[in-house]
């Protein structure tokens, strides 16, 4: 086994538009600029051993994202943090690095849910009561169907209601903020865009702009408790 490190980082500003595949490349290049001894997979097309907790849609900011990286030498976490911090492109910022033990669950498998925030401009103020009641009747629905594109080119309807754990909103003057906790990870994933789209069908918000989205956290669950991905070990 090679030494592994878990990184927590934010992805904002121009970096929001870096796609998932390009993000892998960005970290690989940053690792090389940092002079870190990256570990590579074997085979015809070796790639660096970097894995992410959960893909983030292009355009959505990430406030506390996670990735694991393997090195070929055991370096102090402080050193990894310092080396990598100085070489990331604009908008990517390292928040914390911890060393992780060999036998820990894969990062992706640990993910159960994520929290999001959406912000938009309104052309006129929107009543708080009106918003609250719209959200409660939305959440009271037993089923909420979203249409998903399949890789085969077709489309499939999916009930996303079970994956919406919480949804709340507030509006102040000409700004509306919606927050949600949604199911995430390999056992089913609900995208915040899907939720917003379904919600907009039921409430007529005076939107002056599109929503700007952020994922505010990614979590694992222990029973009822939601924990940061550090808590896995």
């Amino acid at each position: 086994m090679t030494p592994s490190y878990r990184m927590q980082y934010s992805k904002k500003g121009p970096a929001r538009y870096i796609s998932h595949l390009d993000l892998l490349r960005s970290f690989e290049r940053a690792g090389r600029r940092a002079g870190l001894p990256l570990a590579f997979s074997q085979g015809f097309n070796p790639h660096p051993k970097i894995s992410f907790a959960a893909p983030l849609g292009v355009g959505t900011a990430g406030e506390a994202e996670y990735a694991d990286i393997e090195l070929t030498a055991d370096l102090p976490v402080g050193e990894v943090f310092r080396a990598l911090s100085g070489v990331l492109p604009e908008g990517l910022r390292l928040l914390e690095v911890r060393s992780i033990p060999d036998q820990s669950t894969s990062l992706m498998a640990a993910v159960d849910c994520a929290t999001y925030r959406a912000l938009a401009n309104l052309s006129r103020p929107f009543g708080r009561k009106e918003l609250d009641s719209a959200i409660s009747s939305f959440m009271a629905r037993p089923e909420i169907w979203a249409e998903r594109k399949l890789k085969t080119g077709g489309k499939k309807k999916q009930n996303i209601r079970p994956g919406i754990f919480t949804l709340s909103g507030k509006s102040e003057n000409d700004i509306i903020i919606l927050e949600a906790e949604l199911k995430a990870g390999s056992n089913g994933n609900v995208r915040f865009e899907e939720v917003l789209e379904a919600l907009m069908e039921t409430v007529d918000l005076p939107l002056k702009s599109g929503f700007v989205l952020s994922r505010t956290g990614v979590f694992t669950r222990f029973g009822e408790e939601k924990k940061a991905l550090w808590q896995d070990y």
């Binding site: 796609s19 090389r32 990256l38």
Partner: protein
């Protein structure tokens, strides 16, 4: 929330428009006397793959009195949103509108980007025609290989820089700053700038025409403006600035790797090749310089691949020892070496084998013509034995896909030459089978482009074959290349036709370009965006006949539209080469054989500069 943020979620690949890449240079706007926007008239992924951009970005941003930012042509989906929301063309570093800059500098890499130049000016809110621009507008300048025939863009570009840019841009900026400090009017500055070596101000030249439409003369309208403009050439590749902190895109681009230019120029003398003619003489970088730049680049970019670029990298004298040293130094951290252009011979295959230890894709070779006779006509010093030997090595070493580049419509081409292409392709395929390449995997791709006569080449006087004939020849090849394992690709003949028109066109074509822009032409180099009908309509509206430009044999004794732009090659040499071509006679490479008397070295007072030493590059005996 700003406008850009609203638009970005609505377009494909928004990372094209966000900036913020690693090694980006953001300078204090208020402290720079001269603000330059480098404009690449194609999409981000293409423009960012261009080494010239990185070089000039480095040169200009190294100056304390200037800054350079980048702007690319927005893809049509983005353009639509920008126009809808009234967002003007902006630069990626400061997000400022391009029209706020002092200078917009376009690079002209291919003719089919001209419509994008006009479209970008329009998106920036800048009048298209130079004579409609005033003191409040940026100066619009252009360079690059297409500037060697600047005439089709003469109405739109204030000033061209002919030849290599890294020193010329410094001279231009010096004269610009000086003019600015004296509050010189735009017109007066252009007159002064016209004296800077390599600078061509088209509005200061008058073109007169004969009754038959040919040009009778081109002359300066003012005293002190030079009659001819000679190209700029850098003397020492080791001393010229080279960026070791290039911008590293966060999204995948076409050439997503370190590019180190190891030599400039090419002496092979292929008669159709404009690059081989206009970038003379050959100048090689010293191995120590290459190795030092490579080490810095790996550290500063984090790329996993070093590409040794040039027109013909296997001609670089110390190529083998440099590759060995690079692999030794960098392979340990997963950094490989690649060669973009390979000659058709054994030595090149050996090199390819060396660098392809890690990644293995297809190998590309360019015999260009199907028979020895026609290869002699174009002076491509490659024999059939070379090709067979090279592909044999490739198959033996485990490559299963070979790509062969050919050109059709070359001067003197007959059916026999087309049959030659078919025969060669089949022989290469048979060689692959014999070498035991797996049946399902074995693939020989024949990629055929159509000959486009280019300015400053021995074939500049030659007509292009009519579109219908080119199509017939493509169909003939397609029929002959139908076999399992063979793949046939060819270029749109209509695009090649338009290229020929603009490659040899004069300034009357400005009207056509403007019409084409109004008809919505853009991204013409992308087949999905090329509308031949619109171009034909643009010609009709201008009352011009495109065939007159493409299909006409230009006469030796007539004035060429680019006659006043000098590449350093003498007209006598180009004529002689043309005649030798038609007689099927080859000409030596001046590296090894006798001086071919192209006139460059004495004319520009330069000399070829080789990296010295014994040299690893085996020189071919194919050229007699």
């Amino acid at each position: 929330m700003d406008l850009l943020e609203q638009i970005l979620p609505l377009v494909q690949k928004p990372a094209r428009y966000t900036g913020g890449e690693w090694n980006i240079v953001r300078k204090d706007w208020a402290k720079a006397d001269i603000k330059v926007a480098f404009a690449f008239p194609d999409v981000y992924e293409v423009g960012m793959s261009h080494l010239g951009l990185q070089i000039l970005y480095h040169v200009v941003n190294s100056r304390s009195d200037a800054l350079m930012e980048r702007v690319f042509a927005p893809w049509p989906d983005m353009e639509e949103k920008m126009r809808e929301h009234g967002l003007p063309l902006f630069a990626l570093e400061s997000y400022r509108p391009v029209r706020d800059f002092d200078v917009i500098a376009f690079t002209l890499q291919y003719e089919m980007c001209y419509s994008n130049v006009l479209n970008m000016l329009d998106l920036a809110g800048i009048p298209l025609r130079s004579n409609l621009r005033g003191e409040e507008h940026p100066l619009v300048i252009a360079g690059g290989p297409c500037a060697f025939n600047p005439e089709p863009l003469a109405d739109f570009i204030d000033l061209f820089v002919i030849g290599e840019g890294e020193e010329a841009i410094e001279d231009f900026l010096d004269s610009y700053r000086e003019a600015k400090s004296r509050n010189l009017a735009r017109k007066d500055f252009l007159t002064e700038a016209a004296r800077v070596p390599g600078v061509y101000v088209p509005s200061l030249y008058r073109v007169e025409y004969r009754a038959d439409g040919e040009i009778s003369k081109v002359e300066p309208v003012l005293e002190g403006v030079p009659e001819v403009v000679e190209k700029r050439v850098v003397r020492d590749l080791d001393k010229v600035p080279f960026p070791t902190r290039p911008v590293v895109p966060s999204t995948q681009i076409v050439h997503d790797r370190i590019m180190i230019e190891v030599l400039r120029g090419c002496t092979r003398g292929c008669r159709f090749c404009q690059a081989g003619m206009i970038y003379r003489p050959v100048r090689e970088k010293k191995p120590a310089t290459v190795l030092r730049q490579a080490a810095e680049l790996v550290r500063q970019t984090g790329y996993d691949e070093i590409s040794l670029t040039s027109l013909s990298t296997s001609d670089y004298t110390p190529v083998r020892s440099v590759i060995t040293a690079l692999i030794k130094e960098h392979a340990g951290c997963g950094v490989g070496v690649s060669l973009p252009s390979l000659r058709v011979d054994n030595f090149s295959m050996e090199l390819a084998k060396e660098v392809q230890k890690v990644r293995r894709s297809s190998i590309t070779l360019a015999p260009e013509a199907g028979t020895q006779r026609l290869r002699d006509v174009i002076n491509k010093g490659v024999t059939e034995e070379d090709l067979m030997a090279a592909t044999e090595v490739a198959f033996r070493e485990g490559w299963q896909a070979v790509k062969l580049y050919f050109m059709i419509g070359l001067p003197t081409e007959t059916n026999e030459d087309l049959d030659g292409i078919i025969r060669l392709a089949r022989e290469v395929l048979a060689g692959g089978k014999k070498a035991g390449a797996r049946r399902g995997r074995l693939r020989v791709t024949v990629s055929v482009s159509s000959f486009v006569p280019k300015a400053h080449t021995p074939f500049q006087w030659e007509p292009q074959l009519p579109l219908a004939v080119l199509k017939e020849r493509q169909a003939y090849l397609a029929a002959g290349l139908r076999e399992r394992g063979l793949v046939f690709n060819y270029h749109d003949t209509a695009v090649s036709f338009m290229e020929a028109v603009f490659a040899r066109g004069d300034r009357r074509l400005g009207a056509v370009l403007e019409n084409a822009f109004h008809l919505g032409c853009k991204f013409d180099g992308w087949s999905e965006n090329f509308y031949f009908e619109k171009w034909l309509e643009a010609f009709r509206q201008a009352g011009l006949e495109p065939g007159w430009y493409a299909y006409r044999r230009y006469e030796y004794n007539r004035v060429l539209p680019w006659e006043h732009i000098r590449s350093g090659l003498s007209k006598q040499y180009l004529m002689l080469e043309h005649q030798r071509a038609l007689a099927g006679e080859t000409t030596d490479d001046c590296r090894t054989g006798a001086c071919s008397g192209c006139g460059l070295c004495p004319g520009l007072e330069v000399e070829p500069d080789y990296a010295g030493g014994e040299g690893d590059a085996q020189l071919p005996d194919a050229v007699q």
